[in-house]
C-alpha cells in the first residue's frame, strides 16, 4: 500500500472511532440535536472518550497498532450495528443562497490548502519535537513510562492520545490530519451554533473569519493542539447555550466530560471547566433552582477526564500539576527557578520591544510572536459593539474568559481559543451591513492566502507558504522533502545513524525527538538536564568554577551537626556550594558513611557539595532567601575547629553564617564572619565534567553551532574526552569517550 493510504487510514480511523464513541454516548444519553449538530458533537465528545480510552491502554502498556486498529474497527462496527450513524435530528435552519455559496466557496478552497499541508510530512517546530516526540516514544514503549527528564511529558496530553492512535497507523502526518479534523470542525460548529440561535449571516462571516486566519490554518495543519483546544472550548460553549435553553439534565454529562477534556488537552484550557461550572451555577441560581446537583454532575464528569493526568503526575513526579506549582509541590524534577524563568520568558518574547507592539505583531507581522491572525483582527474592538446583542454578550463573556491564559503566554497561537468568539462578535456587528460583512469575508480570505500573506507579513512569520500536493501524496518522498525543508530532520538521521540504540543524548536546544528513537535530553527541560548543563558549562565559565573559599574558624568544639546558613534575600543569584569540608586541626575529616547531609531548598542534590568534584555543586536553584542551608550531621559527636566552603563566584550577594548543634542538642551560632580567599582555577575540568555526566548515563552530546561553548567543544574535543561523530545542519554530534 502507498504511504498516503496509511496516513489517510490512520487519521480517518481515529476520527471515525471518535465519532462512533460520541454517537454511542449521545444516543445512550438520549440526547436530541439537529442533524448537523449530531456529527459535530459526536466527534468532539467522542474524542474525549477516545482520548481517555487510549490513556488507559497506554497505562496498561498495550498502546500499539495491533490493539488500536481492531479495537477501533470494532467500535465503529458496533456504532453502525446500533444504527448510530443514522441521523434522527431535524436539519438546522437553511442558509440563504448567497451566504451558502460564500461559505462553501471560501471554506472549500481553504480546506484544500489546509488538507495538503496537514498531510505533507510534519515538520512544525513543536510537532516534530515534543508533541509527536512523546507520542512516538509512547508507541515504542507500548505505553507510558516514567519520564522525569522532559517537562513536556508532564503536561496533560489529551489531544496527543488521539495522535497516538493515528500515529500508530499513519505516523506523523496522520496525527496532523487529526488536528486538521478539529480545524475543519471548528467553523462548522460556529456556523451550526449561529444557525440554531438565529444569526446565520453572522455565523458564516464569523466562522470564516476564524477559519481562514493564517495562524489558525498554520496551527491546525500541524501536530500542534491549539486549534483542537479552541474547538473543544467552542463546542463546550455551544452545548452550554443549548442547555440553558432546554435545561436537559443529561446534557450536563457531555458538558462535564468536555470541560474535563479541555484540561486534559491543555492545562490553560481549564478555563473551560471554570466557565462551565460558573455558567451552570449562575443560571441555576438565577432560575431559583438548586445548583448543587447539576454542578456535581459537571464536576464529576470533568474529573473522569482530569484525574488520570493529575494522578499520573502525582505518582511519578510528586507534583500533580507539573511542571508548574513547584513551590507548592517541591520535587527533584523541575527547578523552581526554571518555572519562574519560563513563565517570565513566555510573557516577554525576545524581539518584542514593548507590549504595545502586540496588536501589530499578532495581526500583521507574525515573526516575533510566531504567527499572525490577519489584518482583519485589527478591527477586533468592533466586536465590543456586540454587547448590545444577547448572544454577543455570551460570546464576549466566554471569549474574554478564554483569553485570560493568553497573558501567561503572549504567542499569537495562544489567542486561538478566543478567536472564534471574537470572530462571531465582530460578525454580529458587521452583518448589520450585509454587503460590508461579505466584503470583509472576501478581503480577509484574500489577505490570508499564502501568496498574499507574504506580501505584508514579516519574512520569517510562522505561516503556510504553499500547497504541497506532491509531498502530501508522497510523490516526492518524505525523506527528500524533510531533508530539503526541515532543519531538524537531517539531525535526527544523524542521531539514528551514529548513536546506537539506547543512547542518551544531551543537548542545549530543541531537538527532533519525533524522528529519532534515541533519547534526547534538552538542558532546560528538567532539573536533571539543567544540572548536566551546569556541569558541562563549569569548565567554560570561570565564574562557575570553585575559586572562592570561605573558612569558618573557631576554637575546637565537640559538635553533633554543623550547618552553613545563607542569610541574604533577593535575586538574581542562586546560592551554590561546590564543596563543604570539615576540619579538625589541619586534617580534613573524611566524609564517613554515617554522616547525613541535608540542604534546603533542593535537598536532592546535596551530595554534589560533598563529592570532591570541582565541576559539580549543590545549587539552590532558587533566588536567595534567608534560611537556605547546607547541613552535615556527623552521626556522633566530633571535635572540629574549621568548616570550609568552596564556592563559585556567580553568587555575588550571598551572606553566610555558621550554626552548629552541640552534644546537648542545642543550636548555636558559631564563628563570626568567614575568612575569604581566592583559590586557583582548577585544571582538568573538561575531562572531569564529561566524566560526571557520563556517570549520570549521558552517552552523547549534540551541540548546535549557536550553542554556548560550541567552538570549544569543536576545537578541544580531545581534551573534553569527546569523539566527533558527524555534523548536520550546523549541529555536531559527539560521543563521550
Amino acid at each position: 500500500m502507498p504511504p498516503a493510504f496509511y496516513i489517510l487510514f490512520g487519521a480517518a480511523l481515529t476520527v471515525a472511532v471518535a465519532m462512533a464513541l460520541g454517537k454511542l454516548l449521545l444516543r445512550a444519553l438520549g440526547l436530541k440535536f439537529h442533524r448537523q449538530e449530531e456529527h459535530l458533537f459526536a466527534l468532539v465528545t467522542g474524542s474525549a472518550c477516545l482520548s481517555l480510552l487510549v490513556f488507559l491502554l497506554a497505562t496498561i502498556g498495550v498502546a500499539r497498532k495491533g490493539v488500536f486498529q481492531p479495537l477501533g474497527l470494532g467500535i465503529v462496527a458496533v456504532a453502525v450495528w446500533r444504527g448510530a450513524h443514522r441521523s434522527a435530528g431535524a436539519p438546522l435552519a437553511p442558509l440563504a443562497k448567497f451566504w451558502q455559496r460564500l461559505f462553501y466557496a471560501v471554506f472549500g478552497i481553504f480546506t484544500v490548502l489546509y488538507f495538503f499541508n496537514a498531510m505533507a510530512p510534519e515538520m512544525s517546530p513543536d510537532g516534530s519535537t515534543y508533541h509527536l516526540g512523546l507520542v512516538a516514544r509512547y508507541l515504542r514503549n507500548h505505553g507510558f513510562e516514567r519520564i522525569t527528564t522532559n517537562m513536556y511529558a508532564n503536561l496533560s496530553q489529551g489531544i496527543e492520545m488521539l495522535y497516538l492512535f493515528a500515529f500508530s497507523i499513519g505516523r506523523h502526518s496522520a496525527a496532523a490530519l487529526v488536528h486538521f479534523a478539529f480545524l475543519v470542525t471548528l467553523p462548522l460548529a460556529m456556523l451550526a451554533y449561529a444557525r440554531r440561535f438565529g444569526f446565520v449571516e453572522a455565523g458564516v462571516a464569523g466562522a470564516l473569519f476564524t477559519f481562514v486566519s493564517p495562524v489558525v490554518g498554520q496551527d491546525g495543519a500541524t501536530a500542534y493542539i491549539d486549534t483542537a483546544v479552541a474547538c473543544l472550548l467552542f463546542v463546550l460553549f455551544y452545548l452550554l447555550q443549548i442547555w440553558e435553553r432546554e435545561r436537559t439534565p443529561r446534557l450536563l454529562i457531555p458538558i462535564g466530560l468536555l470541560a474535563g477534556f479541555c484540561y486534559a488537552a491543555k492545562y490553560t484550557a481549564v478555563v473551560g471547566l471554570l466557565y462551565a461550572l460558573g455558567f451552570v451555577g449562575w443560571k441555576q441560581l438565577r432560575a431559583r433552582q438548586p445548583a448543587i446537583r447539576p454542578l456535581a454532575v459537571v464536576a464529576l464528569c470533568a474529573l473522569v477526564m482530569i484525574v488520570p493526568w493529575v494522578a499520573k503526575n502525582w505518582i511519578w513526579l510528586g507534583n500533580p500539576f507539573s511542571p508548574f506549582f513547584n513551590s507548592l509541590f517541591p520535587n527533584p524534577y523541575v527547578h523552581i527557578s526554571f518555572e519562574k524563568e519560563y513563565v517570565r520568558h513566555m510573557q516577554n518574547y525576545p524581539g518584542l520591544g514593548s507590549h504595545w507592539e502586540i496588536p501589530l505583531e499578532v495581526t500583521v507581522r507574525g515573526t516575533v510572536l510566531c504567527g499572525l491572525l490577519g489584518p482583519l483582527f485589527l478591527l477586533a474592538p468592533v466586536g465590543l459593539l456586540a454587547l448590545r446583542h444577547p448572544a454577543g454578550r455570551q460570546l464576549l463573556l466566554a471569549g474574554g474568559l478564554f483569553l485570560l491564559p493568553y497573558f501567561g503566554n503572549i504567542g499569537t497561537r495562544f489567542l486561538i481559543p478566543a478567536v472564534p468568539f471574537v470572530s462571531l462578535a465582530m460578525a454580529l456587528v458587521l452583518v448589520r451591513w450585509k454587503p460590508l460583512a461579505a466584503a470583509f469575508v472576501i478581503a480577509h480570505a484574500v489577505a490570508s492566502w499564502p501568496d498574499v500573506v507574504k506580501t505584508y507579513c514579516d519574512r520569517d512569520a510562522w505561516r503556510l507558504a504553499e500547497v504541497p500536493v506532491r509531498q502530501a501524496l508522497r510523490i516526492e518522498s518524505e525523506e527528500s522533502w524533510l531533508t530539503r525543508k526541515s532543519p531538524y530532520y537531517p539531525i535526527a538521521r544523524l542521531l539514528d545513524d551514529a548513536a546506537p540504540p539506547g543512547s542518551r543524548i544531551l543537548t542545549f536546544s530543541q531537538a527532533p525527538d519525533a524522528y529519532t528513537s534515541r533519547e534526547i535530553l534538552v538542558a532546560y527541560q528538567s532539573a536533571f538536564n539543567a544540572t548536566m548543563g551546569d556541569i558541562l558549562w563549569t569548565p567554560l565559565i570561570p565564574e562557575y568554577q570553585p575559586t572562592w573559599q570561605f573558612s569558618f574558624k573557631f576554637p575546637p568544639r565537640p559538635l553533633r551537626k554543623v550547618r552553613v546558613v545563607q542569610t541574604n534575600d533577593g535575586g538574581p543569584d542562586h546560592w551554590s556550594v561546590a564543596e563543604l569540608r570539615v576540619f579538625s586541626g589541619e586534617r580534613e575529616m573524611p566524609r564517613a558513611s554515617r554522616w547525613r547531609l541535608r540542604a534546603h531548598p533542593n535537598p536532592w542534590d546535596v551530595q554534589m557539595a560533598f563529592d570532591n568534584s570541582p565541576v559539580t555543586r549543590w545549587r539552590s536553584w532558587h533566588t536567595l532567601f534567608p534560611g537556605m542551608y547546607v547541613e552535615v550531621d556527623f552521626g556522633r559527636v566530633e571535635t572540629i575547629d574549621k568548616v570550609v566552603l568552596e564556592c563559585a563566584r556567580d553568587q555575588y550577594r550571598i551572606q553566610l553564617k555558621l550554626e552548629a548543634q552541640t552534644p546537648s542538642g542545642e543550636w548555636q551560632a558559631l564563628a563570626g564572619e568567614p575568612e575569604e580567599a581566592k583559590l586557583s582555577q582548577p585544571l582538568g575540568l573538561r575531562w572531569a565534567a564529561i566524566d560526571e555526566i557520563k556517570r549520570r548515563g549521558i552517552t552523547h552530546l549534540l551541540v548546535y553551532a549557536e550553542d554556548f561553548g560550541a567552538d570549544d567543544f569543536r576545537k578541544k574535543a580531545v581534551v573534553w574526552g569527546l569523539t566527533f561523530l558527524g555534523e548536520r545542519n550546523r549541529a555536531r554530534l559527539y560521543r563521550l569517550d
Binding site: F329, L597, R598, D611, S613, L683, V719
Partner: protein, 171 residues
Amino acid sequence: MVPVVCLWLAGCASLPDTYAPPMQRRPLTGPEPNPVDHYVTMSEADADVHFVSGISDTTEAATWRWTGPRAELIFRLTTTGHLRFAMDFAIPEMTFKQRGPVAISISINGRLLDKLRYEKGGQFHFEKPAPFDWLRTDAYNFVTLEIDKPWVSPDDGARLGIILTSAGFVQ
C-alpha cells in the same frame, strides 16, 4: 476539591530528605589527560604545553599572545583524515608603518601549507585542509609560523610577529 485532594496525596509521596556522602572523586592534580591536543586557545591555562618556541610567555587581555618572527607549536592528533588547519590571529595596523606588508608562511611538519600576504592590519581567520599524508597520529605534529618581517617594539626592542589567539586542527 481537586487541588486539595492532590495536595493531600502529594504530601504522601516520600523522597528522602537526608543523604549519605557520595562516592568521592579523585582530586584533580593536573591538567586534562593528553594536555597536548589538536587545538590550542591562548586563553587556556595550560596553553603553553603546545609551544615549542617563539611564543610569548605572557597572555595579553587573557586571550592572545605575541609570536616572534618564527613560532613553533605542537599538536597531537587522533586521526589524520578530513582535518583543516585553522588559526585566528591579528596584525595591528600600527605595525605596518614600520615594516610594510607582511607575509606569513605556515608549515606543517616541515611542508609549506600556505603563504599569506597582508597589506593592512585587522583580525583574520585562516582555515585550509591539511593533507592527511602530512600528518601523523603516533607523534607530535609541528606547525611553524614564519613572519618575513618582524615588528620591533619601540618600547623594549622585542622582535614580534603576529598576535595569535588560537591555532590547531579542526574537522
